[in-house]
Amino acid sequence: MGFSFMIPSLLLLVAFFIVPLVFVGEMSFREGRLPPPGGGLWQNYERLFFDSFYLGVIGETMLLSVVVTLICILVGYPVAYFMVRHAGGKLYNLIIFLLIAPLLTPIIMRTFGWQVLLARRGLVNEWLQSLDLISKPLALLNSPVAVVLGLVHVLAPFMILSIASVLAGIDRRLEESARMLGAGKGMSFLKITLPLSMDGLGTGAILVFMLANGSFVTLLLLGGGSLQTLPLLIYQQFNTTRDLPFAAAMSNALLLIAFICLFFQLRLIRRKGV
């Protein structure tokens, strides 16, 4: 009986995910605009997986997602820990508000904000010059650093909120017991708190990784060509080249890679005993 309640959701899933996926799958086997010698059914996938340039693009896409995820963990965990363990009611609410408020503004606005800050005549370069730390403006914009900054800014709240919700549920008496048995603050954190918060950390990591993996606007506005990722190339194939079969093959490859990474991340988290 309970299954019938799932029918509307399943219908939506089939109509807006499975059916388009089938279309994209079929499209990826059509002839592209720049087919490799010999052509063939798998030509678009051959071009993607047997050309060192496109393999490099896939590698860059993965590397960017991993770096952004790791930085979000490093930045997000202390914030989540402080929120749950040290912030009182009002401060806790204020931090939650500060985390959620930026999500209410469009991603494009936040990214434009970084453009203004990191520009050659932007605030950061002006400060550095006024402090005599640099003699001429640094090229901060249109660089991988700018992209990573922009993505961490956009995605860190997902990490912090995921970790905080799990940290809040950890029984403090377990840490107190460890301390009473002689463990220092660091040891009790490493042996008790961190393992018990792996669930939240894993959820946050999956969310951030997946969102970074498919991110596009931030790369387009802050990257300036310094990074080449699959979403950028998919947009390019659709917008400039109009090579839809190759764009479809890249889209399927991105989806497959995301599934593979998700699988390994879940295995890694489970192996940690959560």
Binding site: M1, S4, F5, I7, P8, L11, R33, L34, F53, F112, Q115, V116, A119, R120, R121, G122, A139, L141, N142, L219, L220, L221, G223, G224, G225, S226, L227, Q228, T229, L232, L233, Y235, Q236, Q237, F238, N239, T240, T241, R242, D243, L244
Partner: protein, 350 residues
């Protein structure tokens, strides 16, 4: 009297309601005398609604619905349902307009059904091989920050030399920006001694600019203005209409130059989709009419093609005459785009 609904009835109602809601959004369910036309967003949408659609509706008594978006998306929609197309009139770039003609998405122009066609110079039909009419155009020249560039370059060649000499940083369109093959790659090649068959000079110049940290790229039209405003770049290749539209909003620091080589022509084509009703011709007539065209030019500050249109003085100074522009070989460029994009990705970056 209250009737208690079963779970099955609620579910059936939800599904039926959703289907009805979706169906009502579909243009296929629009009234028979209603047509679907296309427009870019922003001021374009306002201009098309208030001028062309208003003129069409007043003359014919029919209605026209506007679909916002861009040509690649619209063409995909038409391709997916060619027998009952969701769009009747397509606004297109010229390279894609030629593709739409070759792939059977649009009809050839029928002069007998377009009374306003007599005032459109032949070149605006011949360039599209009759698969539509050019009704509006932009020109890509040099836009610059007046306060930061005292002596702006007068040509594309001088612009590159000045940037390589460290006089300023350029903001140029990236390969993710659809008009880049014409407005940048071909234009640079043509200005630096190459051609559509030899774009090496363009790629060499771009690589030199990158090595000298003298260039940044923009992926969308608004980004160029941000680059100039934030000081990330001082000048670059940009549209006349967008430059003047920005000037009109109070940004009097921006200026535009038609370079010695000639600004690059970027026409906008209007096309009748196959299997669309004959009333679509009437809408195209409105698009080509001198009255709506003049008002359109005043709003978007781009040139229009009806020879009866007389621009007011303030606008005449801003619009690049089409005779003074360079016309890229659109069809050859269209065929070369996949190779150029691939080369750009490998040599310049995305």
């Amino acid at each position: 009297m209250l009737t208690k609904l079963s779970r099955r009835q609620v579910l059936a109602g939800t599904v039926a309601g959703s289907a009805l809601a979706l169906a009502s959004l579909s243009p296929a369910f629009a009234q028979v005398d209603s047509i679907v036309v296309t427009s870019y967003g922003g001021i374009w949408e306002i201009a098309i609604r208030d001028l062309f659609v208003a003129d069409y509706e007043a003359r014919t008594g029919g209605t026209a619905e506007i679909q916002i978006g861009g040509p690649p998306q619209w063409m995909s929609q038409i391709e997916a349902s060619i027998d009952n197309p969701p769009i009747d009139v397509l606004v297109n770039t010229i390279d894609l307009a030629l593709v739409a003609g070759r792939t059977g998405l649009v009809e050839k122009i029928e002069p007998s059904k377009l009374t306003n066609l007599k005032n459109i110079p032949d070149r605006f039909v011949e360039s599209v091989q009759g698969w539509g009419v050019i009704f509006d155009y932009g020109a890509a020249g040099i836009a610059y920050h007046r306060e930061r560039v005292a002596n702006p370059p007068s040509s594309i060649k001088a612009m590159i030399e000045g940037a390589l000499a460290g006089e300023y940083v350029l903001s140029l369109p990236s390969i993710s920006y659809a008009p880049t093959p014409q407005m940048l790659i071909w234009s640079l090649a043509d200005a630096l001694g190459g051609s559509v068959d030899n774009v090496d000079p363009a790629f060499e110049a771009l690589k030199q600019l990158q090595e000298a940290n003298a260039v940044i790229f923009y992926g969308g039209a608004t980004e160029f203005l941000n680059h100039l405003e934030s000081g990330e770049a001082e000048l670059g290749i940009y549209w006349d209409g967008r430059t003047w539209a920005h000037y009109s909003t109070g940004a009097e620091w921006i200026g535009f130059i038609n370079p010695d080589e000639g600004a690059v022509m970027n026409p906008v084509v209007v096309q009748k989709v196959v299997n669309s009703p004959d009333t679509a011709w009437e809408y195209i007539n409105s698009v080509l009419a001198p009255g709506p065209q003049l008002k359109f030019a005043e709003m978007v500050q781009y040139g229009v093609t009806n020879s009866e249109v007389v621009y007011p003085d303030w606008l005449k100074e801003r619009i690049t005459p089409w005779e003074e522009t360079r016309w890229p070989p659109f069809e050859e460029i269209g065929a070369a785009i996949p190779v150029w994009v691939d080369r750009w990705n490998r040599e310049i970056g995305a």
